[in-house]
């Protein structure tokens, strides 16, 4: 006989089962390879150190005129000891024409296995041209993200350390103002 209490028991059992599955899911477990915590002296907040996986951005040349870059939250340190951040906010002031902002940031990755990254233009900006280009350390173009429309790309990160230089190319034939957003979804498969 089906009663409220029995339904509740079944539901609780299922929820418990899912929580157990989540906890012991080897996929999730593999993603957090035994982090060690320490306290960041400047902020007093606990930060994760010793994590092998480190993927994010490093602002590179912030002294270029007309561009300002504000990093988001700290996630880890690169092999050179630079801070790697989870996000970048980029402010560009330009006038009509074609502009190349070379090497404004680094996209840094240090992984224990090959990783695939879905690079998705989540909010495009309608202008004549707007490209975010990732170049590898030997100067070869790895990925060209067209941020003028909704686009999706896949980037594969090799095992170990890889560093990509971020260049922004923009072109506008009329005054404009707007925001674009590009998401990097790192898959663990």
């Amino acid at each position: 006989m089906l009663t409220w209490s029995r339904v509740l028991v079944v539901a609780l059992l299922l929820v418990a089962l899912v929580i157990l599955l989540y906890l012991f899911n080897p996929w999730v477990y593999a993603y957090k390879p035994g982090p060690a915590f320490t306290i960041d002296l400047s902020t007093g907040r606990p930060i994760v150190v010793g994590v092998v996986e480190c993927i994010g951005f490093t602002p590179y040349s912030t002294g270029v005129a007309g561009i300002r870059i504000i990093p988001g939250d700290f996630v880890c340190y690169s092999g050179r000891g630079d801070s790697v951040f989870d996000s970048l906010r980029i402010y560009i002031n330009a006038s009509i024409g074609y502009w190349v902002y070379s090497d404004v940031a680094l996209f840094y990755a240090n992984t224990t296995s090959v990783k695939y990254v879905d690079v998705i233009v989540e909010k495009p900006l309608n202008m004549t041209g707007l490209e975010v280009i990732l170049m590898d350390s030997s100067g070869n173009t790895t990925l060209v993200v067209d941020a003028t429309s909704y686009n999706k790309y896949e980037l594969s990160l090799p095992q170990g350390e890889s560093v990509y230089r971020v260049t922004i190319v923009l072109n506008s034939d009329k005054p404009t103002r707007g925001v674009f957003r590009i998401g990097f979804y790192i898959k663990n498969t």
Partner: protein
């Protein structure tokens, strides 16, 4: 009484189905966990009359814009070549604009040049100019590179093609338009208020049209080439 109880069973089953569906959904969502990184950009593009510094460099012809307060270059932008044929230059977008005594002057980001010639060797002198118009607060000097984006090619064949950049003091450098794509010359220092004139030298061995693209990169620094 029994009917009421039956209704209750119906509701419980529906609830159970809902819970199972919700739990199944949690299971599905669980399978797609990503580490997420992002970048956002706030871009503000102002119009050409607000251009400053390296934005206020570009192509112009003092002959096409009479009275421009810049050096006299580009005097042959509409010169006659053979017969009644003339050179034609179509400027692209205006990147810098200013007004002197109610006259408006422009610098252009690009030019498209059409030069009708016959077979033989030609030297096209001062077909257009490239200059830096800055205001008082702009940097004294900027640095310019010329880069061959697309080598000269087309249905006409040419054995020799050079773009020559001249200052008032003479030839600064030549860019071989038949070299490989990406060939770059520079940096050349360009001071505020000054300009270069552009010449073209080539040899055509058969009739037809030839096209090439040269990119001009301007920067505040001279250390890194584009």
């Amino acid at each position: 009484m029994k009917e009421v109880y039956g209704k209750g069973v119906e509701m419980d089953r529906r609830l159970l189905v809902l819970i199972v569906a919700a739990v199944a959904l949690i299971g599905v969502v669980n399978a797609t966990v990503f580490a997420y990184r992002w970048m956002t950009g706030n871009i503000t593009i102002s119009d050409a009359s607000n251009a400053r510094g390296i934005a206020c460099t570009g192509f112009y012809s003092s002959a096409a814009q009479r009275g421009i307060d810049m050096p006299s270059v580009g005097t042959n932008y509409n010169a006659q070549t053979y017969g009644t044929n003339t050179i034609s230059v179509s400027p692209g977008n205006t990147v810098c604009q200013w007004t002197v005594d109610s006259s408006t002057y422009n610098l252009y980001e690009s030019i498209t040049v059409n030069i009708p010639v016959t077979v033989g060797s030609w030297y096209i002198k001062d077909f257009y100019g490239f200059g830096y118009h800055g205001v008082g607060t702009d940097p004294e000097n900027v640095y310019v590179w010329f880069r061959l984006e697309q080598p000269a090619s087309g249905d006409g064949s040419i054995s020799d093609a050079y773009l020559i950049i001249n200052s008032t003091g003479g030839v600064i450098d030549e860019l071989n338009l038949l070299s490989s794509s990406g060939t770059t010359i520079g940096p050349f220092q360009l001071s505020r208020g000054s300009a270069w004139s552009l010449d073209l030298r080539f040899n055509a061995t058969s009739t037809g049209s030839v096209s090439f693209t040269v990119g001009v990169y301007v920067s505040y620094q001279s250390s890194e080439s584009p």
